[in-house]
Amino acid sequence: MAIEFQNKKAIFRDIVTVDEAETLLEWLQQNPDAVIDLSCLSHMHTACLQVLMAADPDFSSWPEDESLMRWLRSAFKK
């Protein structure tokens, strides 16, 4: 799994694939006050992206990849 779910925190790593969207959604449904750590992310599938956008969680850190960070910040308006 490219997403590591901790207590209230989800750490995204490397490539988060389409298969993880459902799990992510379920987790976000159960953890509405989740914090997301994207620092080690290199790509996230669109399905996961839209789940995050719908949930609009807090982010503890943005990806190191600058272009990805810009894309995500524009998506989350953060």
Binding site: V18, E22, L24, L25, Q29, P32, T46, M53, A54
Partner: protein, 832 residues
């Protein structure tokens, strides 16, 4: 390797297999529209996937194939064998590229030519049909005028710096395009990753991702229905953009922006009164000052203003016991101030500011409410009050829904008062929707790395071994420590652990089971190709594809089966003319059947060809020295047929000499025996041949018999053991220098295990003077191995010999016994 690429390669192989199957199926049902559509879809998706990577050679060939299929699908062409040949060639090429990507990480540049040649030859097939329409022309749908209207609206959302950069680049003559990409809702099911696609675009000035419809509640959201729209401002030519998005062109709008457009837009924005670029900003400022004092709002604007104000008032009346209360007050005040500026009533601003300060200090919305009531008339001017009251209702509703949606997304902490009752309500809905989510039945298939399953297998193997240690422990408790009660208790525990371990083992075995279809699916293509090459007509019948067996066994089956099929087609089935002469239908039949029989998978390959001539085999075997003259005289036809599997029988020379089979049948036999299977050949001259392979369902556990010789324990696989007998030493007779025994009127040669293993000590007799003889099955019939003592049989996890030892054929491997000792397992077939 990049995990994305790895995934791509796995998927591509799956796709290629599917495509190959469908191409062949279509040959016999060329008018099956459903099948054709499926084939088209597979090729289309594969092409799309390949486009995500930089493999133009692959994409080019796939693109041509896709166009060809599209032409057939739309009835412009007919599906012929020629078409199938080209498609299969193309897929072989793609498969070869995949191998290369896997090995080298990239495609060698010298394939470009081959790729172009293939693509051109496929397109040649279509030359009678109208040439494919280039993608650029398809996308030109809306009029330029339309585009501009839409673009202007959208461009207002673009931040100033990006727009200024675009303006500058546009002035310099670079092509600027506004792109709106709205992926289809089902795009995830088609393997699209729109975000990946947009991330790869070059010349990006500005981008945004937005939901196209407001988000549903999280509890009701469908993660796999795409609800996003991507907008971008790109410095790039239309062709480049079209090329980038060519697989999703129907979902993309590309709008060119000339620098004139941009200039126009600058003016547009100042009209709108929102501050933008420096030059327009000053003009806007001026404009606003000119207008100051005179409120010139249109009807719609006025009603919007009324809405905004009303909402602010409602916000002020919300419960004030929340931690962000201050922020809320500030937000309301700044909205009021912006409204004042808009209608040109700046004089009320000072008072507003002091009201805000007051409100924050008092932690109460009252001062702001007072200010609002006082200045309400100023905002509304001639606006009829009636309208505002009418609008009240739906505004209220909106506010309420806003509040409750905040609740469900959890932005509100649990305070007291009216909120908590609302909270309880939303918690109820939470529960309900969660119940729905749980009830939804989804088929879940896990793709697991084989290494993980293998690890489980190894672990369960160790578990079996440590489980087996318990009986030893029990007997030690009894014999060594003299506590029989403890021994009994350990034994009863052993029974329950044993049951769980066996179930667990069974469960893991189940995971490893795959259907034989895994191997069978490539046969239609194989048979078709070979038959075509040999100009024979063959009907292939496959049955029992769903029969399951362990993955390793299924995989080890592939090669022997291909060998057998090739032999059948090459040597078994005759040419059509020959068949007609022999009174058979011109089309030969090759049947492959798989069935499960108790703990074996039985695979039967039969043909109605010319069969094997036992006489020829006998002679050949005699010439090769495999059988002696005596055997030549008395060997049965059935045994003679089986001789073709004897090592040394099949050499390249015999292939051309023999009219029957003989190509590498010993290879087949070895492969089958490696997984402890059996092979049987039955053949009738002129009627056909049937080869039956029976294979164990699983290789994980081996049942062995433990024997002792010279004080050492050895294991003998039970599947090779025929029987164990005690033979009185004086009943052993000698033939020349060999010792033999007569068992049920059969002469069985005897070998001392000590001699076979070069252990320098005689075999021991028991008290009655009898020899312990283990009768085993070997290539040349049964043989007796004399040992010192027999012990029990046991299940072990056989580990093959490694390194230099792997070359010693006499040993099948080693295993750990329950008491921790290592058992060497013999391979009697090689030993004798």
């Amino acid at each position: 390797m990049n995990p994305l690429l790895e995934q791509f390669l796995i998927e591509t192989r799956d796709f290629l297999e599917g495509i190959g199957e469908k191409v062949i199926e279509l040959e016999s049902a060329s008018d099956d529209a459903v099948l054709l559509n499926e084939l088209f879809r597979l090729v289309h998706t594969l092409k799309g996937n390949s486009g995500l990577f930089d493999f133009p050679e692959m994409t080019r060939v796939l693109h041509a194939s896709e166009d060809l299929l599209d032409a057939i699908r739309s009835g412009k062409m007919v599906y012929t064998r020629e078409v199938a040949d080209y498609l299969l060639d193309a897929m072989d090429f793609v498969s070869m590229l995949c191998d290369e990507i896997e090995a080298e990480g990239a495609i060698k540049s010298d394939h470009a030519e081959e790729s172009s040649r293939l693509a051109a030859s496929i397109r040649d097939l279509m030359k009678d049909v109208n040439p494919a329409i280039p993608p650029e022309e398809i996308t030109e749908t809306k009029t330029t005028e339309d585009h501009h209207v839409i673009a202007r609206e959208w461009l207002l959302a673009i931040p100033e710096d990006a727009r200024r950069e675009a303006y500058r680049m546009g002035k310099e003559g670079s092509p600027i395009h506004y792109i709106q990409y709205t992926p289809s809702e089902e795009c995830f099911y088609q393997g699209d990753d729109p975000f990946y696609l947009v991330r790869q675009i070059r010349g990006l000035l500005w981008h945004d991702i937005m939901p196209r419809r407001p988000w549903q509640k999280l509890q009701e959201m469908d993660a796999y229905a795409c609800n996003l729209v991507f907008t971008m401002l790109v410095v790039s030519s239309r062709e480049e953009i079209a090329e980038h998005f060519r697989y999703v062109m129907d979902q993309v709008e590309i709008i060119p922006l000339s620098d004139k457009d941009l200039e126009l837009l600058c003016e547009d924005r100042s009209d709108g009164g929102i501050p933008s670029s420096p030059q327009s900003c000053s003009s806007a400022e001026k404009y606003r000052e000119d207008q100051e004092g005179s409120c010139s709002l249109t009807g719609t604007e006025r009603s919007l203003l009324a809405d905004i104000l009303r909402i602010q008032k409602d916000i002020l009346s919300l419960p004030d016991n929340v931690e962000w209360f201050k922020g809320r007050l500030k937000a309301v005040a700044s909205t009021f101030s912006a409204c004042c500026v808009q209608i040109g009533k700046k004089d009320a601003l000072a008072e507003l500011e002091s009201s805000l300060k007051e409100a924050i200090l008092a932690a109460s919305p009252e001062p702001l409410q007072v200010w609002f009531d006082k200045h309400l008339s100023m905002f509304l001017d001639s606006e009829p009050d009636v309208e505002i009251t009418l609008r009240m209702n739906d505004t209220e509703k909106r506010i309420n829904s806003l509040a409750s949606s905040q609740m469900t997304t959890g932005h509100v902490s649990k305070d007291g008062g009216p909120i908590s009752s609302e909270n309880a309500g939303s918690a109820m809905t939470d529960k309900n929707s969660k119940g729905r989510a749980e009830n939804r039945t989804t088929s879940r298939v896990l793709k697991v790395d084989q290494a993980k399953i293998d690890r489980l297998m190894n672990l369960i193997g160790e578990m079996v071994v440590s489980k087996n240690a318990l009986p030893y422990l029990a007997s030690r408790a009894e014999d060594v420590y003299g506590i029989p009660e403890l021994g009994r208790e350990i034994k009863s525990h052993y029974i329950s652990i044993n049951r769980i371990v066996e179930e667990m083992q069974d469960a893991i075995m189940q995971v490893r089971m795959v259907p034989v279809a895994h191997v069978f699916q490539r046969f239609p293509r194989l048979v078709r190709d070979i038959a075509n090459k040999l100009q024979k007509e063959v009907e292939l019948i496959i049955e029992g594809e769903e029969t399951e067996a362990d993955k390793n066994i299924i995989e080890s089956l592939a090669e022997p089966l291909i060998h057998i099929i090739r032999n059948s087609l090459d040597h078994g089935i005759e040419l059509p003319e020959e068949r007609i002469k022999a009174g058979k239908p011109p089309k030969g039949r090759l049947a492959i059947r798989a069935v499960q029989e108790s703990d074996c998978v039985v695979i039967e390959i039969s043909d109605d060809g010319r069969g094997i001539d036992p006489e020829l085999i006998k002679l050949k075997a005699y010439e090769k020295g495999i059988i002696d003259e005596e055997t030549l005289e008395c060997i049965t036809d059935q045994d003679a047929v089986n001789l073709i599997m004897a090592a040394g029988f099949s050499t390249s020379e015999t292939v051309s000499d023999l009219s029957g089979r003989g190509v590498g049948m010993d290879v087949v036999r070895n492969a089958v025996e490696k997984v402890k299977g059996n092979i049987k050949i039955e053949s009738e001259k002129g009627k056909g041949t049937r080869i039956t392979l029976s294979l164990p369902l699983s290789v994980a556990v081996t049942n062995v018999m433990i024997v002792k010789s010279d004080g050492r324990k050895f294991g003998v696989p039970m599947d090779t053991v025929v029987e164990t007998v005690r033979i009185p030493d004086d009943e052993v007779s000698s033939v020349k220098d060999k010792r033999v025994a007569i068992l049920r009127d059969q002469v069985v040669p005897l070998f001392n295990l000590n001699d076979l293993l070069c252990i320098n000590s005689p075999q021991r007799l028991n008290e009655e003077g009898e020899l312990a003889v283990l009768v085993v099955r070997t290539y040349s019939g049964n043989a007796g191995i004399v040992v010192d003592e027999f012990y029990e049989t046991t299940d072990i996890i056989l580990k093959p010999m490694e390194g230099i030892l792997a070359g010693i054929k006499a040993y099948a491997g080693t295993a750990l016994l329950g008491d921790g000792s290592v058992l060497i397992v013999l391979n009697p077939k090689e030993l004798v």
